[in-house]
């Protein structure tokens, strides 16, 4: 068991290391951040002065070593723009993002699993078609359009829901829906497919032949099995959710999250922040996937005991 844990951890560390290294070199290729730090109307002479001040005149290898060194003090360097430790900046953003992510996952599971199961069971009736039509439509709309539409309807016109930031539970409603809309759609479809697979399995027939009520058959025998496959996708999807979708949502709802930080630091070439933000997101994704793996192994006894 320990060996497995150690191997997983090593793999995680290697993956993360590769990611930060790649990001480091990619960012250096994408332009001298000095232009972004100081903006316009500065003489060449001053530009060089500042380049030196921010340590951007050193060779790329020196910078890389320094960057690696910055891991050691736990601060991960200073932001070019904000002039404070990167760790502070990122730490500030992680919790709001995580809150939004968790509520998004929660909503997704809450909605898509019952709907997916229903769509599988009532595959041939209008219920199934209706659910699937919604699932497709939900996925077909860019999430920022959904978000802005909600803003216009529920905040701008009706004034029902607050818009800015993450102050109260009410603030979560729109961003959560906007963020998880596509995932709900995707997972509903996935749950349906997984359930359809499971429903045709022999053990479902066995369960029915025992005289079990349909509810037990579907939930205990069916869903338990489907959940294994659902879990494995969820892990992958969450990664996308954690970063890609949230950038847009965070910007529209002025949510002080990490997605927004990622993009703004990339646009402003605030490399230290960018690198650590990427690392943080990657870490989250890798950890979530590891957790999903373990949950997966836990849910599926064939894996849990398979190696014993």
């Amino acid at each position: 068991m320990w060996r497995h844990v150690v191997r997983t951890l090593t793999k995680m560390v290697v993956t993360l290391f590769v990611i930060v290294t790649l990001v480091f070199f990619a960012t250096r290729m994408s332009g001298n951040s000095i232009d972004y730090i100081i903006g316009e109307s500065v003489t060449q002479e001053d530009r060089e002065l500042l380049t030196r001040y921010y340590g951007l005149d050193a060779s790329i290898w020196t910078q890389y070593l320094k960057f690696l060194g910055s891991f050691l003090d736990g601060q991960f360097g200073l932001s070019f723009l904000e002039r404070r430790p990167v760790s502070d900046i990122v730490a500030e953003r992680v919790w709001p993002s995580l809150q939004l992510l968790l509520s998004g996952i929660g909503l997704t599971l809450l909605v898509s699993i019952p709907f997916g199961i229903a769509a599988a069971i009532y595959r041939k009736s209008w219920i199934g078609s209706a659910i699937m039509t919604f699932a497709f439509a939900g996925y077909a709309l860019p999430n920022f359009v959904l978000a802005i539409l909600m803003v216009l309807v529920f905040a701008f016109t009706l004034n029902w829901l607050p818009l800015v930031g993450n102050g109260t539970p009410w603030h979560f409603i729109m961003p959560t829906i906007a963020l998880s809309g596509a995932l709900i759609a995707a997972l509903t479809r996935f749950t349906r497919n997984a359930m359809l697979d499971v429903l045709s399995q022999d053990y479902m027939r066995t369960a029915r032949a025992k005289g079990l009520p349909e509810r037990t058959v579907i939930l205990k025998h069916g869903f338990r099995n489907a959940s294994i496959t659902i879990l494995s996708v969820l892990g992958l999807q969450v990664a996308g959710l954690a970063a890609a979708g949230s950038v847009v949502i965070e910007s529209i709802f002025s949510w002080p999250g990490i997605g927004d930080l990622l993009v703004s630091s990339a646009i402003q070439r605030d490399y230290p922040v960018l690198q650590f933000a990427v690392l943080a997101v990657a870490l989250a994704v890798v950890v979530i996937n590891a957790v999903v793996d373990i949950a997966y192994a836990y849910a599926d006894p064939r894996i849990r005991l398979g190696g014993a």
Partner: protein, 304 residues
């Protein structure tokens, strides 16, 4: 089962033209109403995309600054000749939608093709060779999964500049890891199949196994992924535009119209609504068709 052959359309392979037509008719008959709808939408969109220059009433970039932000027909201040209204520079929203659709579909298709070749190739190599190559490629997949793609797009556009060519590349890279995972998974599953062993037993070389036996068998899952990828690319493209790094003005794509036009949602919603509906139609149709394809593929497998 008795020892008689199953019914089969004779001559289907000899007369491809006729077969394709018959195929189409068969497909139509087999589809339910929603799939038919998707087929219809797809066909119409394709046709108007291809013939955009003929259909469009104006040049997509022709401005008339004095008539900017005019609403579509049926509203106050509607201006003749601009059916869907004008945008913030007085360009015809309809013309931009049509040209935008054309470019969006072209970008999405090219992007999906690149992703297919890139990801599919790597997945194939990974699945067939295994070992260290597999570890490296799958490591790259893991890394890719862990980095938000918007970021990669940002960096690529920053490094290579934001031209249409680079955009195609960016959209092409998007989703490679999904192709790679799928192909690798399928390949590994196929490698266990007796017919692969049968080919090896017949003396087939690695290349022959890869191209003649494995490749044709991963076409179906790839096609499904391809359709999903297309709709994801359309969505990604609009998200990039939202972030200001999408296809650059004055060129119109559906995504950039929505992304850039969003500031006008409260005041001139038609600028966004028209292309948003187009996006919705494209992704909706593509996904329904993709899903349907998947079902058909599955039936094949289940029939055995």
């Amino acid at each position: 089962m008795s020892d008689t052959a199953l019914p089969v359309r004779h001559g289907a392979a000899n007369k491809p033209g006729h077969g394709a037509l018959a195929n189409l008719r068969g497909i139509w008959r087999e589809a339910n109403w929603i799939q038919r709808l998707a087929l219809l939408i797809a066909a119409i969109l394709l046709i108007i995309a291809i013939f955009a220059p003929l259909v469009a009433p104006h040049e997509p970039t022709a401005q008339s600054l004095i008539f900017r932000l005019r609403p579509p027909i049926g509203f106050d201040r509607f201006r003749d000749g601009y059916l869907l209204g004008t945008d913030e520079l007085g360009r015809d929203v309809l013309a931009r939608c049509l040209y935008g659709l054309q470019l969006t579909l072209a970008l999405a298709t090219m992007g999906a093709c690149i992703g297919l070749v890139l990801g599919g190739g790597l997945g194939l190599v990974s699945g067939i060779l295994g070992g260290l190559v597999d570890d490296v490629i799958m490591g790259a997949v893991d890394a890719q999964i862990a980095i938000p793609f918007t970021l990669i797009a940002l960096l690529m556009l920053a490094v290579f500049g934001s031209s249409l060519e680079v955009m195609v590349l960016v959209l092409g890279v998007y989703g490679w890891e999904q192709y790679a995972r799928i192909v690798r998974g399928e390949v590994r599953k196929l490698m266990q199949m007796p017919f692969i062993e049968a080919a090896r037993a017949a003396g087939a070389s690695g290349g022959r196994i890869a191209f003649r036996h494995i490749l044709p068998n991963i076409v179906s899952p790839l096609v499904v992924q391809f359709t999903l990828n297309i709709s994801n690319i359309v969505l990604l493209e609009s998200t990039l535009s939202f972030l200001g790094i999408g296809v650059q003005p004055p060129t119109a794509t559906l995504g950039s119209m929505v992304g850039i036009g969003r500031d006008y949602m409260p005041t001139a919603p038609w600028i966004v609504i028209a292309p948003a509906i187009m996006i919705l139609l494209v992704t909706f149709a593509v996904q329904i068709l993709g899903d349907w394809l998947r079902d058909r593929v599955d039936v094949r497998l289940r029939n055995r």
